[in-house]
Symmetry: C2
Subunit: 321 residues, 2 copies
Amino acid sequence: MAREAGVSRATVSFVLNNTQHQKITEATRRRVLTAAEKLGYAPSAAARTLRYGRSDVVLGLLPDWPLGYAAGQLVQELTLAFANRNLTFVVHSGIRGARSLSEIWKAITPAAVLSFEPFSDSDATAMRAAGIEVIVALYDDKGPGSDENITSANAIGAAQARHLAASHRRLGYAYPDDERVAVFAGPRADGVRKACAELGLPEPDVRTVPLTADAAADAVRSWLAADPQVTGICAFNDDVAMSVLAGLRRLGLEAPRDMAVIGVDDSPAAAVSSPPLTSVVQDLPGIAELYANSVRAALDGAPATSNQVEPRIRLEVRESA
Amino acid sequence: MAREAGVSRATVSFVLNNTQHQKITEATRRRVLTAAEKLGYAPSAAARTLRYGRSDVVLGLLPDWPLGYAAGQLVQELTLAFANRNLTFVVHSGIRGARSLSEIWKAITPAAVLSFEPFSDSDATAMRAAGIEVIVALYDDKGPGSDENITSANAIGAAQARHLAASHRRLGYAYPDDERVAVFAGPRADGVRKACAELGLPEPDVRTVPLTADAAADAVRSWLAADPQVTGICAFNDDVAMSVLAGLRRLGLEAPRDMAVIGVDDSPAAAVSSPPLTSVVQDLPGIAELYANSVRAALDGAPATSNQVEPRIRLEVRESA
DNA sequence: CTGTTAGCGCTTTCAC
DNA sequence: GTGAAAGCGCTAACAG
C-alpha cells in the first residue's frame, strides 16, 4: 500500500483515518486514496486492535433462555444506539454446552461486554484484567434483600399492579414455568408486591403458570378460590398472560369480567388474543440509549453519568384489563 | 511471558497451543504453564488473527425485520452448532441507520459470514477479497422464475397446504403486512401454490393480513365470499395465523368449523390461542447443523458437501386445523 | 510537511 | 531440545 503510493506508511495512516492537525498535500492525499481504491485496500481491524489493545466492538452476552419478541427488539435498539456512538454491537447467545465465556471474549477482543446474565467473579476479574469494560444489565446491585423504593427492575410489576388496583382488591402474579428466567421474573413479582403494599392491598398470590390451558385453568381456579379472592392477574409476560386467558376460557370464564389479566412486552400476538391483551410496554430504545451511554462513558474513562433519564414505561390498554 | 518463564516465545506458543510433533521437556512445559497461570496470561486473539489473517469467528447477519421466537431459537442452535466445530458465532442485527456492512466485518474480521439477508455484489466481492467465506442462508439460488420441485425454502408452505388439502378444496394464503419479510414470505406462498397444483386444487387466494382483528375480519370475509369459497388458510407465521383466528371470532365464526388455519413456528402463544393453533415446526437444530457444516467445509477448503440431510419439517396438530 | 522506525502479541522458520 | 528473529498491518514518535 505505502509502496504503491510512494508515500510513507504514516502518511497513509493519516489520510485514511482523516487525522486532524496533519497537513497533507492534496496531491498526496489523492494519490493515496487512488492507490487504496485500486488495490481494494481495507484497513485491518485485527492490526488496529493489536496496536490499540482494544477494538470498537461491544459484545452482548445473552442468557440461555428463550428469546422472545422483546429481546429481539432490544438487541436491534442496542445495535442502533451503539452504532451512533461508533461502536459495533454484536451478540453472543449463551447456551449450555457452547463455548466457555473466556473463549468468547478472547476470540472477539471487545472493548466492553454488556451481559444480560451475571457471571462468576473470576470471569469478571479476568475480563477487567484484559482491559475490557464489564457491565451487567438488568440487575440491581442492591442484592436480594433490598427493600428500597421501586427500581426500574421492578417498575414493570408495579405498573401492572397499579393499573389493576383501580378495580381489583386482590392481585395474583402469574409466574413463568421456566427456572431460567427466575432472575428476571423475581424483580417483576417484587414490583407487584411492593405496589400492593403501598396501595394497601393484601399480599399478591403468586402462582406458576405453565404454557398450557389446562395448567393455567388450575391456577385460575386456585386464584378464584383464594381468600380474599384474586381477580386481577399480573403476568410475567404476554405468553404467560395468554396462557391465563386460555385457562379462563377453559373454565367458561371471561376476561376482564371474571378476572382481569395484564401482560408485558406487547408482542404481536397480544393485539389479537381473545380478548385482546392489555400489556406493559417498555421503552426499549430508551433502555438501549441508557446502556450505550454507560458503556461509552466507561470507555471514555468518564465518571458514571447519573444524569440518566429513567426509561418510561407505558401501558397498552386493551380489553383484558 | 517468555521472559518470565525463561523460555523462548516459540516454546511458549507450543506449550499453550498443545502443538503436536514438538517435544517439550515436561519441566519446561510445567514452568510455562505455571508462569502463565501466575501472570493471568491470556493469549491475544487480535495478534493471532493478525498473524493468521483470519479469526475463528463466524459473523451472523440478521435482517432488519422483527425477530420472533423462531429467530431466537435458530440463533441459539447456530451458536451451539458452531461451537461444536470450534467456531465462535456472534450475531449482528442489521438495522436502518446502523453501521454499514463493511464497517461491521472489518471490525470483527470474521472467518466467515452467514447472512440471513442478501447483500450487494460489491459487498460480497469485498468480503471475499478479504478472505472471508460468505454464505447467504435461507434463499434459493435458483432465482424467482424457478419452477423446480418443492425446495426446502418453500417446503413449509407445501406442508401447510398438504395438511389442509385433506379436508378443504380451496386454500388461502395469509400474507404478512410487512414488506421487509417479503423475501421470506414469497417462497412460503410459492410452496402452497405448488402443492395446490400438485394436488389438483385451484390456485390459492393470497391476501395480506395485518395484525389487527378488524383487518383480519375483512380478509376472512373476502375468502368466504370467493368462488370457489376458501375454507383453509395457510398463514405466514403464528402471529398472522392468530390474527386470522381473531378475524374469525370478530365475525362470530369459529375455527376449524368455518375456516381452518395453520401457522408456522409453533410459538409459545400458539399452544394457548383460541382455538389452539396447528403449526408447522421447522427442524431448527438440523438447519443449524446444515449451515455450520457448510461454513466449516468452506473454511477447510473442502468441496461443498452435498450429502446433507434435508432438515425435517413437522406438524404440531392442534385444533385450528 | 514527509519518511523512517519501533513495537503491539503471536507463530513460523531457522540457527544453535 | 531451546533460543533468536522475522513479519502479519497498524499507529505513535521521531528524524529529515
